[in-house]
């Protein structure tokens, strides 16, 4: 009998302890000591109790409403629910966020970013992996607060409006879920914890699905936040080009290349626009620089194609070509 009890204890330990929740040091306490508020409760965050399997639409509606985009979970079901999987996938939550005119910003996968964001007043949609072993339960919830003293976090989760979960257990489920967390931003607003690549991916996604005006606001915010980066200027110049504004695009690509002289994409695009403006001398010079910078990189083939077209131009410069 004693041996059986021991065996059971071992099974239980494997099921519960194997998830890594047993040995985690407190995270909230040091963060609070380092300057975050000791407790946060975004009590005004809307709550949408979920229907069966539909925590994706419910959680998404919660963060969209918090960003000022009023939408019900029912309206989101046809956009994000996958009947065959009885759930929702992360890329579709991001796509739906864009459809409702918001920037789906994925947080850096750190506890600092997670709690700093909620402390700044922004509820966070995140993925948890509940369950264990052969019974994983993937679940979306919305982080709306925490209490460092009590070592708890506050969630809008499932059918519970204010679910208090121990910090250790919560962080274990978030960790096992791949540390994925996103917020919905109004175009033009920067996230509380800005990460350049993540923000630009989100902004470019708006442009890619045809929301050029929202994308422009996001790119302008990025250009102000990261003055040393070429990409936001390049993005704005691409929008100018798409509008048919060649001269504006040329100036924009030039500005991008000045911000980061080693940016091959900015120089490639400037060369192509100069070619279309009939400025052979400047186009040749610019495409040559682009080719040097792109050698061995992912843009090499595209730059080579531009270089072939520039090489086929008739010599001579149209009036008004830039001299640099």
């Amino acid at each position: 009998m004693r041996a059986r009890r021991l065996a059971c204890a071992a099974v239980l330990a494997a099921l519960l302890g194997g998830t890594g929740c047993a040995t985690r040091a407190p995270v909230l306490e040091p963060l609070a000591a380092a300057g975050l508020p000791g407790s946060v409760d975004l009590d005004g965050t809307p709550f949408h109790p979920q229907e069966r399997y539909q925590c994706g639409p419910a959680a998404l509606a919660t963060v969209l409403a918090a960003s000022g985009a009023a939408v019900t979970p029912e309206a989101l079901v046809p956009e994000v629910y996958l009947p065959g999987r009885q759930g929702s996938l992360q890329p579709e939550l991001m796509a739906s966020t864009r459809t409702h005119g918001r920037v789906p910003y994925v947080l850096p996968p750190t506890t600092d970013a997670l709690f700093a964001t909620v402390a700044d007043g922004v509820p966070v949609l995140l993925l948890q992996k509940l369950g264990a072993g052969p019974f994983p339960g993937w679940h979306y919830a919305v982080l709306v607060g925490y209490d460092a003293g009590q070592e708890i976090v506050l969630l809008r989760s499932g059918t519970t409006r204010r679910k208090a979960m121990s910090e250790r257990h919560f962080l274990a489920t978030w960790d096992r879920g791949g540390r994925w967390a996103m917020i919905a931003l109004r175009p033009g607003d920067l996230p509380p914890v800005p990460d350049f690549a993540s923000y630009m991916t989100a902004a470019a996604g708006l442009e890619a699905v045809g929301r050029a005006e929202d994308a422009r606001l996001a790119y302008e915010a990025a250009a102000r936040e990261w003055p040393g980066r070429a990409l936001p200027e390049l993005a704005l110049a691409n929008l100018a080009y798409a509008r048919g504004d060649l001269a504006g695009a040329e100036r924009g690509f030039n500005a991008a290349a000045r911000r980061d002289p080693a940016d091959a994409a900015a120089r490639n695009n400037r060369a192509e626009v100069l070619r279309q403006m009939g400025c052979a001398t400047a186009a040749r010079r610019e495409v040559e620089r682009a080719r040097e910078l792109a050698t061995g990189g992912p843009l090499e083939a595209t730059v080579a194609a531009t270089a072939r077209q520039v090489a086929a131009m008739p010599p001579g410069d149209a009036p008004g070509c830039p001299v640099d």
Partner: protein
């Protein structure tokens, strides 16, 4: 001679091959420039058009309303389409917390079967 030229042009048109006569702009798009700086470029080799068709077929197979399939595919970026087309089955589908109840049941069942507890009266 004229016929040959026409045939040549038709072949080009059919194959959608760029020729020097129809020079097209090759600007680097913003998403492409972002991908060039992040690890998303690993996926950039997947053809975006094929990925779109693949995701459309998978959505239909997974029970998405046919009237919604096109709108949902159109809302995804090329990067996301490539990700979904290659990894859809492996991506987590967040649903609800009911699986946890399954775990509790499993633990109780094991405890029952090894005789530590006795709550399921029908199990010997």
């Amino acid at each position: 001679m004229t016929n040959r030229f026409v045939v040549y042009m038709l072949c080009l048109a059919l194959l959608n091959v760029g020729s020097p006569l129809v020079a097209r702009a090759e600007l680097i798009g913003t998403l492409q420039a972002v991908e060039a700086t992040t690890r998303a470029q690993d996926l950039a080799t997947v053809n975006a058009t094929l990925a779109r068709d693949e995701v459309r077929a998978q959505f239909a197979a997974l029970g998405v309303d046919p009237a919604q399939v096109d709108a949902r595919v159109a809302a995804l970026t090329d990067t996301e389409l490539r990700q979904l087309s290659t990894q859809m089955a492996g991506l987590p589908a967040g649903a609800d917390a009911l699986a946890v109840i399954g775990i509790v049941f499993l633990v109780l069942l094991i405890l029952e079967l090894v005789g530590v507890i006795d709550i399921f009266k029908k199990i010997p």
